[in-house]
């Protein structure tokens, strides 16, 4: 029997009982759609988190004072009680490493900012010109901190978008003077609105040159040193170099912690991928249920079509061919059900993407493949028994309808 004829015959018998066929396809497509939508959600969550991390900067390595045994931020670092602080000279020394592209020192403090009668508390960050590029920030108006010697504290500042609005309203802020703490500084630029990125709202930040912030808060240490590696491949070497340089400068004592964004990112990536797979797996159970339904309905179909099976045998179809005809039916059913399910799933993902625009909802290719494969597999696997039963029917009894 020709393959095309098998397909045609199977199509014909599926069309012969449209209600049954439609219901089975519905079950199949719901299963496939569930896998697609749920994995799309999981994948969306993963991409959202990864996106948040990369908005912090790419190829980022961070040096922080103090030593913790595990990666992450310990209580000692939060309170700033460290044996030795990282100085601006330490930060500059890092540039000796050939794999480090650029660095940006970072201090954090809190001070009041005022313009005339307007006054509020803000987080003041001290940094250098390279901060802009390393942290992937962009300017709305004016310029970022001037390049040059980072030991020089110019009386300038860059305002976060919201701070600028609150202090100046619609008036031009660049060129105006504001007071931070007890110091008058000139506004040279305003950051463009970026929203929140990993717990740091740049919209409510005021950035001044690092030396200025040292004078402002009467400190000399750094909160962090942000390092951008020359490429992703050299990140490990950057970590080694940074540690070596810091150890050499701190009289052989390893009192800094170097963390990479990659390590944190990979952990999140792994957790969320595992989560996506687990959710997809749960959805795949519905495919198995659909498979059982197909088996049930196929068994009924064999019982209903027992005379036809007898006839096919009398007309010269061996048991094997009858079994294949039933397989073809199951495969066709699963295939059409899968396609319908994919359409349904993609439509559902699209709708969810519209409802939660910040989630990049899109089903991962492996989940789509797995869903279709599971649907086809379940359909054919669960039709083995009914098909074998049909193949083994005694032709005489079958023709008599027994």
């Amino acid at each position: 029997m020709r393959l095309l004829d098998v397909a045609q015959f199977a199509t014909g018998s599926l069309r012969g009982s449209p209600t049954r066929t439609l219901l089975m396809m519905l079950a199949m497509s719901i299963g496939v759609a569930a896998v697609v939508v749920l994995t799309a959600l999981g994948e969306g969550a993963r991409r959202y988190v990864v996106g948040q991390f990369s908005s912090l900067g790419t190829n980022l390595v961070i040096v922080l004072p103090g030593r913790t045994e595990t990666a992450g931020v310990g209580p000692g670092i939060m309170s700033g009680q460290t044996p030795r602080e990282i100085t601006l000279d330490d930060a500059e020394a890092l540039l000796r490493s050939p794999v480090i592209k650029r660095i940006a020192p970072l201090t954090i403090g809190s001070a009041s900012i005022s313009r005339g009668a307007l006054n509020r508390e803000v987080v003041v960050a001290g940094s250098s010109a390279d901060m802009l590029g390393i942290r992937h920030m962009s300017m709305a108006v004016g310029e970022f901190l001037p390049a040059g010697d980072i030991h020089e504290g110019a009386s300038v500042c860059v305002l976060g978008n919201q701070i600028a609005r609150e202090l100046f309203g619609n008036a031009a802020a660049v060129g105006q003077w504001v007071r931070i703490g007890d110091r008058r500084v000139r506004v040279i630029g305003i950051l463009s609105s970026q929203g929140e990125s990993m717990g740091m709202r740049t919209d409510e930040l005021v950035i001044v040159p690092v030396a200025t912030s040292h004078q402002l808060f009467n400190t000399s240490g750094l909160f962090r040193v942000l390092i951008e590696a020359k490429s992703r491949d050299v990140i490990e070497q950057v970590v080694r170099d940074a540690e070596e340089i810091m150890v050499a400068r701190h009289s052989g004592e390893k009192d800094v912690t170097v963390i990479t964004q990659d390590a944190v990112l990979q952990t999140f990536d792994r957790i969320l991928t595992a989560l996506t797979m687990a959710v997809g797996g749960i959805a795949a159970i519905s495919l198995a249920v659909a498979g059982v339904l197909i088996m049930n309905v196929m068994l009924i179909a064999v019982a209903q079509r027992v005379k036809e099976i007898g006839l096919l045998k009398a007309l010269g179809a061996p048991g094997k061919r009858i079994r294949n005809l039933f397989f073809a039916e199951a495969a066709l059913l699963s295939a059409i059900g899968s396609v319908a399910g994919l359409a349904l799933g993609y439509a559902g993902s699209f709708v969810i993407g519209r409802i939660y625009p910040m989630l990049p909802v899109s089903p991962p290719w492996w989940a789509v493949l797995a869903a279709v494969a599971t649907a086809l597999g379940a359909g054919i696997l669960f039709s083995v028994w009914p098909a074998r039963r049909a193949a083994k029917l005694d032709p005489v009894a079958a023709l008599a309808g027994r």
Binding site: R2, G316, P318, K320
Partner: protein, 228 residues
Amino acid sequence: MIELNQVSRSFTVGDQQVAALRGIDLSIAAGDYVSIMGPSGSGKSTLLNLIGLLDRPSSGTYKLDGGNVTALDDVQQARVRSEKIGFVFQSFHLVPRLTAAMNIELPMILAGVDPAERKERVAKLVENYGLKDRADHRPDQLSGGQRQRVAIARATSMNPAVLLADEPTGNLDQTTGKEVMALLEQLVERKVALVLVTHDPVLGGRAHRQIHMVDGEIVSENKATGVS
């Protein structure tokens, strides 16, 4: 062509062995017109099923065209059925979802005949059996006589050597029954061996060879000199 040698068939009913056929010896040549008659339960349908390879004998041998077909496996037997045997049933056994033309085409589809050749043969059969304006109708839109004509066209589509008919007129009125018999008897002239099972003595009397069965045994065989 057909040679049955001491063929028996017994069924197990409950814990009892019931013999449906006992030691049948029968040979049928090409172009023979044989009717098998007898009361119900005499084993005539079982004999027909055995000849049609739908059933296997419990003992004895069955040779078709010189080859022992009792020893063949399922696939080989199916092939013999496809190539050499045609069936006509009392209840027509048409596939309800297929049109008349597609029902006629079915054995050729199963045998894997080339589609172009299939269409040609179907067209010819539809013409020969007067079904031209009914070819695209489904069985439930056909009369009993038309249905049986479709069934005969289907049975002859693979040009079988043997045609087995089990009460072919049982569900038809007398006039259409006669038409159907005439169509079957035409095949005998084309050297097809026709084996007809019936309990109607008038119908059975038309055959050249009339076999009477009682309790699974052939009790008598009459040879007529010609078709009445």
